[in-house]
Amino acid sequence: MSLEHTKEELDPISSSSTAENKEAATILQPDASTQLADPHHRYSRQELFAPLGKTGQNELARASVLIIGAGALGSSSAETLVRAGVGKVIIADRDYVEWSNLQRQQLFTEEDAAKRTPKAIAARDRLVQINSSVKIEAHIADVTADELGELARDVDLIMDATDNFETRLTINDISQKYNIPWIYGGCVGSYGITFTIVPGVTPCLQCLMESAPLGGDTCDTSGIIPPAVQMVVAHQTTEAIKLLSGNHDQLRGTLLSFDLWKNEQVSIKMNAARKPDCPSCGAHPTYPHLSHEGQSKSEVLCGRDTVQIRPAHRQKLDLQQTARRLQKLEQHEISVNPFLLSMTIDQGRRMVVFQDGRVMVHGTKDIAEARSLYHRYFG
């Protein structure tokens, strides 16, 4: 077996895209290919923007960004930063592409949904086509504290594109521990929210929310319109470009939320909200979400084709209210008794939720898949 052949087997995606590039190069006119190779031409409209200029563009080219999540926010953030010429983009996601993603997750195609391609891989394939000069690293992973510690090594910024607060609070602790800024973003319906966290300068997410809420609205329970995603990402990526190009003095400094349908926008200055005794960013940090106790526990129940997920902190769920929230989803059958709520999902899968926040996902032994379903319906 030739070396070339082995490489193709190991990494069919990168070699097939190389083949496509070769094919593309043969049909390009010499002038056009020169333009393709000239970074100053490629980024000319960005360099013309005075606050960035050539200096800012060179800074971007030296920067590394870690994007956690390749769903709606992750797709859009990654595309913007890759087009903008950030030097390296690392993207991690545990999920695969589904048809209900295509309405807003801009990197994916019908083929990705039909093949159930992992989102990280489908994202990488598209991003390589968009800008082959950016280093792109894709990880199919359920990102917990351990993985995040590895992935965040040597990055300049973490972009939040997750769908749950447990991961966000983990990102928050990693950010404080290794002094890496991160940009929170969230959206549901026509509403979005974002905040830029710079260690030592701004309050952190722990200062603002203390612990992860469970049972909030999610895109899978309350829907989402694509412009809400794009608006959050517009704010997140603008802040990212400011940070990575050395324009820290231009950062927004506010907690920003908007509702595009209700025509509202709110911006609250947050610098006074830093808590001196915060366990993540205070004088004596303990980084609670990096400890074993601070993380939810998932385990496959022996011989039962079931994964149990226990939240980090005991909850007291109002099961009737949770049932009302989930009943809007007509395709799911929901029943509730004083102790638990049961919901059918599909393909023989069912979720059972106990009052203390414990969830059993029946019909799978795959912990990542179970955690994905859990966050989809319980935030």
Partner: protein, 67 residues
């Protein structure tokens, strides 16, 4: 009672006396929120004890997890 909430004038029942009651009436009682009341950010513990009056200005942001 007239309040300015998120840049819009809104009528609120006079039964609503505290920030906590206001959040409940806006169906935000269960959610994680940041409340700025007359340009002052309140701690969560202050929501139950801060009395609101007609003419107060509030900015209310709630956290969402979708992405």
């Amino acid at each position: 009672m007239e309040l300015m909430i998120n840049g819009k004038s809104r009528s609120v029942s006079p039964d609503v006396r505290t920030i906590e009651q206001l959040l409940q009436s806006l169906q935000l009682g269960e959610k994680r929120v940041i409340v700025e009341w007359n340009q002052q950010i309140l701690q969560k513990e202050e929501h139950g004890t801060t009395m609101i009056e007609s003419g107060d200005t509030l900015e209310i942001v709630h956290f969402v997890g979708g992405g």
